[in-house]
Subunit: 228 residues, 2 copies
């Protein structure tokens, strides 16, 4: 049915691309033969507003950060993508309804499966299930972004920082967070000074301790209270 | 083919709902028979996060404002909808991928055609073209919101206000804008004090004159420069 190298991908397709069962054998073959594996180092840029758009991404391993950037270089994290997530905004050039561009960086060494934009576009044009998939994923990201915006625009900064720290320790399973104030500010769409000031306040409240390049939570209950 | 009262709607469907040609006669009949006309007065709330979701809306006449609201009642305009626009976020309860809720008010006396959520949901479940339409419209709104967010988060306030005033005079075809500072602040996701301060600065620069409940542009070139 497929070339040998494709067989490995079939399971992935079935699992992550709900349109798979609605493809013809020919469409399956095209998709499969045009799948590329890409590797990115931690910190590397994967997609940005100034270059041609990459394509549809499936994250096999690693962890990506998506963000928007102002003309003067300030950036705001929109959402993060983890193993098994699919990203279509990296193929925004082929989605008529998407008029904005985002940036995507690898936050860890990452392995991605890529379907190039032109291949995906041709398939989506002819198969409504693929097109629907593309819009459905986009609409999920819309929800992610709305959540982020509500945080940024409406929440007091102490609460936002508490939620951020709670999320980090939940994600890493450790009470110590290895991020600089600068990095925290970037993830939260804020400024370093604002983060430093609030962390110092948290220290005063006995909630955290600061170390070189990190933050240690010493009173999780207090932090949780703030976050709620 | 249809009950008499449906005939009027067919043209509208063909024009605004690209899935129409992919419907069976039975689906067309269901959609048509379950279309309701609704009228709202200027200022009236149409949809909000606390009530059951209304359904898919087509704006026949008028003009709507969509916004998000913080727990303490601050609101931020997300986008506006005009004649011929379709809104599916007013049926967010039936869109799995949408986890947020918006508010919608009529900004003028408005006439809407409504397909109730349960009817639309049943049809979309069985017809991929309807489902795709729903996600496609959502993805357009995502672009609208991203534009708004870039404005709010990245642009200096003088530029944002200049753009807002330019948009208003372009829309109304008059150099006088009949909005209070409070209303302008609301549309821009800002505070009245901030708007008042900046408008006073614009007065000082000879760009605008202030009147009771309004702003008059007296130097359009300067305003345009600021907006660029």
């Amino acid at each position: 049915m497929f070339a040998n190298e494709c067989i490995d991908f079939t399971d992935l397709f079935v699992k992550h691309f709900c349109f798979w069962e609605h493809l013809s054998e020919e469409e399956k073959r095209i998709l499969c033969e045009n799948m590329t594996m890409m590797k990115f180092k931690k910190g590397e840029n994967i997609h940005n507003a100034n270059e041609n758009c990459l394509g549809v991404i499936l994250i096999k391993k690693g962890h990506l950060r998506t963000y928007m950037m102002s003309e003067d270089g300030r950036d705001i994290t929109l959402f993060r993508l983890f193993e098994d997530d699919v990203c279509v905004l990296s193929a925004s050039c082929i989605i008529d309804t998407i008029t904005f561009d985002i940036f995507i960086d690898a936050e860890e060494d990452s392995e991605l499966l890529l379907i190039k934009s032109d291949i995906f576009e041709k398939l989506a044009e002819k198969n409504i299930y693929i097109k629907n998939f593309q819009h459905e994923i986009t609409s999920t990201r819309f929800s992610d972004v709305m959540w982020t915006m509500q945080q940024i625009l409406f929440m007091s900064f102490d609460r936002r920082l508490a939620i951020f720290l709670m999320d980090e320790i939940a994600k890493n399973g450790k009470d110590e967070i290895k991020l600089t104030h600068e990095q925290i500010a970037r993830y939260m769409g804020s400024a370093r000074e604002v983060v430093t000031r609030m962390l110092k306040y948290f220290v005063g409240e006995g909630i955290v301790e600061l170390s070189r390049g990190g933050v240690k939570i010493i009173d999780k209950n207090k932090l949780r209270e703030l976050a709620q």
